[in-house]
Amino acid sequence: MKTRDAAFSIGPAKFRNRVFLASGPAGYGTEYEGLIDLRRLGAVVTKTITFHPRAGNPGRRLWETEAGLLNSIGLENVGAERFFAERLPRLVDAGARPVVSLGAEDWNEYRSLLDASAAAGVVDAVELNLSCPNVDRGGMSIGGDPALVAKYVRAAREALPDAAIIAKLTPNTGDITVLARAAAEGGAHAVTAINTLLGMDLCGAGQEPVFRRVRAGLSGPAIFPVALDAVWRIVRAVDIPVVASGGVSSVLDARKFLAAGAAAVEIGTAIFYDSALPERIVEALEEECGGSPPKTKPRKGRKR
């Protein structure tokens, strides 16, 4: 019952459908060969790259919690040069539609990365990771400050004038709509909400922190209600599309994000235990309404 086309746009970028792989769990995409048919998905948001390669954090990097996963990967990545030379072409060859996730520790690195992205000549959609909790500078400290969010977004718009600029926001703030508004004011074509929540755990006989950096990022089904709340409110606070991320582990969860008004849904942690989920969601949405979100207007509350 394909009633209308699943395709849609964010700014200048077109997408086959509304189901994306989230940045990080999906790596550079092609690792999932044999498990996920990347050509079926709206987009693959690649692992956040930085200008320089990063080794990531030492020590343990993953830890399960109740219905959740803590990670302290620390943005391990191959750096812009190898990413654009090797990884991105391979992903495109595999038939995927990439959204390139960009991150930086500071303004200078960020400028270099934008320049490298522009020079690569192929980037037509980026997600700015303004919200990684697992690095010392950058990430959260940028992402929690509305003025910096606007500034970083503006710079990306200027450096990549033909690309869709999506700002990924942190939930570790008092009011995420303030950050969303800042991103919109900076010229973002869309925002992604949410990145991981801050959390930690202890382990072993000595009850030592699991992670060397102590704090890590919490993802998975546990955070779904928090993510849905963020998406619901941002949709009602700004006029740009919202890409939903956080805890999707079923077709129903994806539907909820779309019903809340999200333009697209990212699947992250769930691909670890249910790699078929993204394609199941694509199929379910196609069967219904061509993958478009329901036509109900955003409202403030349930009853008025």
Partner: protein
């Protein structure tokens, strides 16, 4: 060798046999289309449909025949307990075969296997697979466990030429751990000089390499870590290894599971 050919499968449990108080042998139907695998490769199994435990659980392939896929599972937590409690007929969602680098074959050298606990699984697969293919004519196994009851003696009756056992409490074989046993055999001149293949707890493998590594032509070890993706994407399972002069982080799931034990930077590798 690449992990090409990996896929997502539903595998039906054919039988589950308790081998020790905590370990069970799980024999699944080999799913139609499941590719051949090499020793050191693993599958990652969804132990329950629930969201806790959330992640798949990785298990070394202990054997793979035309019709069956065998795992050796030790119940240590919720996931493994659910697997050990499963009944024949239950179907499990698994991905595999995973692992980009299996145990290299020993060529003409004698293969010496050292296994701690369920580290026996990949080692047993190597011995069986190589015997079937006519390589590794001469094999020695050193197998350790806490007690006689934990020792999986019956499982290894046939696959190895020589077998040595160690138990911590001395209830069977050598009293002590498998590293002490290995050291003992080396010092008494009873240990062949072949290629060493090991799998077991980190501390065991490290001690093995540090105290007896020099005796062998090479020492390959299959490593474990908590894993999320199992395919090299998430970078959650890294181990620092020497590469040239530098320290490089490798993903155990896709750049391993097998590494030359001498390359591992144990000091940097924290649990």
């Amino acid at each position: 060798m690449s992990a090409a050919g990996k896929g997502l499968w539903k595998a039906a449990l054919r039988r589950s046999t308790p081998l020790s108080p905590s370990c069970s042998l799980l024999v699944f139907e080999r799913p139609a289309g499941f590719p051949d695998a090499a020793p050191g490769q693993f599958v990652s199994v969804r132990a329950t449909e629930a969201t806790a435990p959330l992640l798949r659980r990785p298990y070394s392939i202990m054997d793979l025949t035309g019709s069956s896929l065998s795992l050796l599972v030790k119940a240590v937590g919720r996931g493994s307990a659910a697997l050990c409690a499963a009944r024949p007929g239950e179907r499990f969602d698994m991905i595999g075969p995973l692992g980009g680098v299996p145990f290299p074959e020993p060529g003409e050298a004698e293969a010496v296997f050292v296994a701690g606990g369920t580290g026996l699984a990949p080692v047993l697969f190597a011995a069986r697979a190589w015997r079937r293919r006519g390589v590794a004519a001469r094999t020695t196994l050193l197998c350790g466990a806490a007690t006689k009851r934990e020792l999986l003696g019956d499982l290894v009756k046939t696959a190895f030429g020589t077998r040595w056992f160690a138990t911590l409490d001395g209830s069977a074989g050598f009293r002590g751990d498998v590293v002490a046993l290995c050291r003992d055999l080396v010092s008494r001149g009873r240990m062949p000089k072949g290629v060493l293949y090991s799998c077991g707890p980190r501390g065991m493998v490290r001690a093995l390499e540090e105290t007896t590594g020099g005796h062998f032509a090479a020492h390959y070890t299959s490593l474990e870590a908590i894993m999320a993706c199992g395919v090299g994407a998430c970078r959650g399972c890294t181990v620092p290894v020497r590469s040239g002069g530098a320290s490089v982080l490798k993903a155990i799931c896709s750049d391993g599971t097998v590494f030359p034990a001498g390359d591992i930077l144990w000091e940097e590798w924290e649990e």
